[in-house]
Symmetry: C2
Subunit: 203 residues, 2 copies
Amino acid sequence: MIDHQRTFVILGHAASITPDFTLNDLPGSAGRMDILARCITTSFCLSHGIRKDVAVYLILRDQLTLRFDGATVKRLNPDERSTGALIKHAIESAQRLNIADQAEEIESTPGVYVARRGLRVLLEFFAKTNILCHVLDEHGTDIRSAPVQQPVAFVLSDHQNFSPDEELLLKECTKVSLGPVVLHADHCISVVHNELDRRSLHS
Amino acid sequence: MIDHQRTFVILGHAASITPDFTLNDLPGSAGRMDILARCITTSFCLSHGIRKDVAVYLILRDQLTLRFDGATVKRLNPDERSTGALIKHAIESAQRLNIADQAEEIESTPGVYVARRGLRVLLEFFAKTNILCHVLDEHGTDIRSAPVQQPVAFVLSDHQNFSPDEELLLKECTKVSLGPVVLHADHCISVVHNELDRRSLHS
């Protein structure tokens, strides 16, 4: 088993949690699922291969958590549509989950898992496993000088800001800044990876 | 008129130059058009707005040049499919171009232009207008210490390496490195933007 050195968590506030959306309209009826798909591919895809020790969690409306494991994920391509299909399949699989059991997790396709839980449970897992959690904040410490120790998690939001409830849950996270311009979540992931790659930390 | 401070050129070696591809299969029948679409959105899209002084050129099989002008481009959204539709529309419009006239350029949708020309003509334009051309190369100068002066152009390739003919045309370009890991072209654009944003250069 490979330990995940870098984890990205993306909160999808508008994302569909039922599989009745079309892959032809990821931004619209699927609730900005295009952003989430790009965050997955940017987290994992290298020019020639997959970053095996990366994990990505998509949290959809704080109700479903989709987990992508770089060590075992299959059928992951760099384009949005095929990644949207993996997400859709995971949401479909969630219908088989016991509605009252937050601990249950199903593998929907190789290396992709789904559970009925939200941000609080994930942050408890990070705390238990000593994964230090970061959020991006323009007033935070510049990532180039921030002491980032792996394993590390970065929590990002889709096109919406964190909700007050999320901000409360995330208040202990280390705040880091990437630069003077506010970027899309997937572009932020490229910049974070680049900084950690340069430090010759495992990825 | 806004001068373009940052220009990205992406060479699409496998890209379709006829509009008979489906937006449902940008990676396949369209010839890795998904990469080119992501390069466009990554070049232009900020969290809240468009980088107005960016220009992007897609060169398809060294036969068609599509030009996207950040100052005037419309209908540009961050997702791949709608950007693929802008590209497809430009390729359709190219059929109205005089086949022997490299100078002719048509506006296919607001801020998107197409012409029947390739890399050589574009590099001649950069030379005439004093735009210094860069290529990404792992053995180049680290971009963090490279003296990048705007206006500047970066030439990137899709999933294939530069051809020998392209390498010859690009041999005078400044070589810069982004880090120790070889990235997809769109991820490279995020890293380049971040470095230039940090220098407080206009974008």
